[in-house]
Symmetry: C2
């Protein structure tokens, strides 16, 4: 299929802990901002996809597609929730994109939302553990910090990656987050702050981990014909890749190479007709600092094992060769799990429009988003461009 698809509107809530806002309030605010940003009427929207990880366990509500359509005044249109743990948002983007390519709709919303702070931390930990293998991991106490700690330890053994290099990801992303008005955390940290923060799952410390967050994000996609008619600053989706891997970490060939991300990236690059070296900036899934190091390796920004070096050399900094997580990433912007993949697309859109303010990447022409579910059982990668081809 040769039909091109563009982002014609993007919006999100601030990310944070919002005791006075419900799940519905969050998604409605993101939706209204996005429709306003696109400058279209709600009646022009023909379908809706929403990513949400586990509203059943967080707020005892399922049937999320209809809920979001209803609360956004879009009753009647096809409305579908998709889920792949923390990659749910990226899949909403992909399914919205595919529905346009399939020819059944021309203007489609992709949204993501999670309300994580209405339950205890213990309950949230159980809910999030459902992203891994319940029978082989969660049941035995392997929560997500533990799983990523295993990956980090193996990366250290195989490649000599250091705890300081991981901490540098946190320092960089908190710096970027301090420049992002929508970020959960605006505070900057020094290397020694990260290194001396409380241990969570050795070698990961508190400041190596992304937070529990409330938030929502949305983008409006349109076919080429509609995009040119409705928008004067469309951002084009040039490639979309998705892949899976074993649910449990122990079944994989390597603990510290995320095969699904490599596959998803290769698919997206091929579809876009670009190479890793062509990418100007990337929003990657840094749920833990080690995850960003593995991400830049999976995406081909450096060789396997060189993620730590790349970070230490400043190449992923805002002014570096390949800025990673200019938004602050999951680490500082926050990580409302179902919203994250869509918020990455919001950031890519703002960067490519040149609207990213103090965190603007210079001469951004080609951007990438990388969204991961669990410990890598799902990865989804999209390539965005200012040019249609």
């Amino acid at each position: 299929m040769d039909m091109n698809v563009a982002v014609i509107g993007a919006g999100m809530t601030r990310f944070g802990e919002f005791w006075n806002m419900s799940y519905r309030d969050l998604i409605t605010e993101a939706g209204v901002k996005t429709i306003k940003d696109a400058g279209i009427e709600g009646t022009e929207i023909e379908a809706l996809y929403v990513g949400s990880m586990t509203p059943g366990l967080f707020i005892e509500q399922e049937h999320i597609g209809a809920l979001v359509a209803d609360n956004s005044g879009l009753q009647g249109i096809p409305a579908t929730r998709v889920e792949a743990a923390c990659a749910s948002g990226g899949l909403a983007l992909r399914e919205a994109y595919l529905s346009i390519k399939a020819g059944v709709a021309d203007v489609v919303v992709a949204a993501g939302v999670e309300k994580m702070t209405d339950v205890s931390v213990e309950h949230a930990t159980v809910a999030l553990a459902g992203a891994g293998d319940q029978e082989w991991e969660a049941f035995h106490g392997a929560t997500f910090p533990a799983l990523y700690a295993l990956m980090a330890r193996r990366h250290m053994i195989e490649y000599g990656t250091t705890e300081e290099q991981m901490a540098m990801v946190a320092v960089k992303n908190h710096h970027n987050g301090s420049l992002n008005p929508n970020a959960q955390f605006k505070r900057q940290f020094k290397l020694e702050d990260v290194m001396s923060s409380a241990p969570v799952a050795d070698p990961l410390k508190l400041l190596d981990c992304s937070p529990i967050t409330d938030g929502a994000a949305a983008v409006i996609l349109a076919s080429e014909e509609k995009a040119k008619e409705m928008s004067d600053n469309p951002v084009w989706i040039r490639g979309s890749g998705q892949a899976s891997d074993t649910l449990a970490l122990h079944d994989r060939k390597s603990l510290c190479r995320v095969e699904s991300a490599v596959r998803a990236a290769n698919t997206a690059y091929k579809m876009a007709g670009v190479k890793a070296g062509d990418i100007d900036f990337a929003e990657v899934h840094d749920c833990f600092t080690i995850a960003e190091l593995m991400a830049v390796e999976s995406l081909g920004f450096c060789k396997a094992g060189e993620g730590g070096r790349l970070t230490e050399d400043g190449e992923t900094a805002l002014e570096g060769r390949i800025p990673v997580n200019a938004s602050g990433g999951l680490k500082a912007k926050g990580h409302p799990v179902g919203a994250t993949g869509v918020a990455q697309a919001v950031e890519a859109t703002m960067q490519l429009r040149g609207d990213a303010g103090k965190r603007q990447v210079k001469d951004a022409q080609l951007g990438l988003t990388h969204n991961v579910g669990g410990s890598g059982a799902t990865s989804v990668v999209h390539v965005f461009s200012r040019e249609v081809k």
Copy 2:
């Protein structure tokens, strides 16, 4: 888009209460049967969609796409869960269909699964209530029997529908179910059995309600080129329609007309180029007997309000003008919520192949499936045919 899509394989577990089978066992069994039925290798499958309503609340597991791919030996391929409460299976079918039409895959599995008996009935009731509006319905005690009882009462007031006419749906579907080896209930009931069964939510009685069920189902879809190459008995998907409505019943114009089903049916009929009168049989969403009466009205098999009369006159019986739920329906075959929409497609495939045994509809050329989420906030309708066009 003019690309045609066929079902080239179909399979399901028996539906029932399976104390010795897990969620994983169920979906794996359905998957293996389906691949065997298609006569292909698992390696030929390029993507996977799975419908499941609330595995988070039933088994504390999310990330269902990857789980199913992993347990089916399909690690690596894109694997996506979709959810719209009890319409999750129908949406898996639709998204699989759209992914082929979008040109990103040629051979795609649509699966559905739910394991509902590992929790208490009270817990299951809370989980299922998440299909409705948690804040405006479930929180106040309006469980699903209560919501459908409101719809039934209104149908009785507006159209003179009787409790006996509803009971006739149960009698018919339990008769059909007795002919289906995969059905949860093989027992037949007389009208007086249904009428004298225990009240659940007046006017609905125990035998007006579908059961709590474990089960899984899957179909393999292929593009026209691949279908003709791989299969000598493809069944074609001629139309796909999906629509939404308000999540809460009280927000609708009518309590007893399911607008989303009317819209979804009209979309599917238009895409297929057929009319309601052309359909030879239908599998409809009879979660309660009143739901089947509303379904046959929404689908245009009779006028609004005449569903009771249509049933009483035997027109929806296996030998009638428009056989409805030859499989036994949700009522007798069982209702593992995420699997139901896919199991309907399995039945449509078997009927159109002429493989439905004692419950075979004569001269079945054109069939329809109708899958509903909640009290009608989502409906999805597909039209199947023996002929490609």
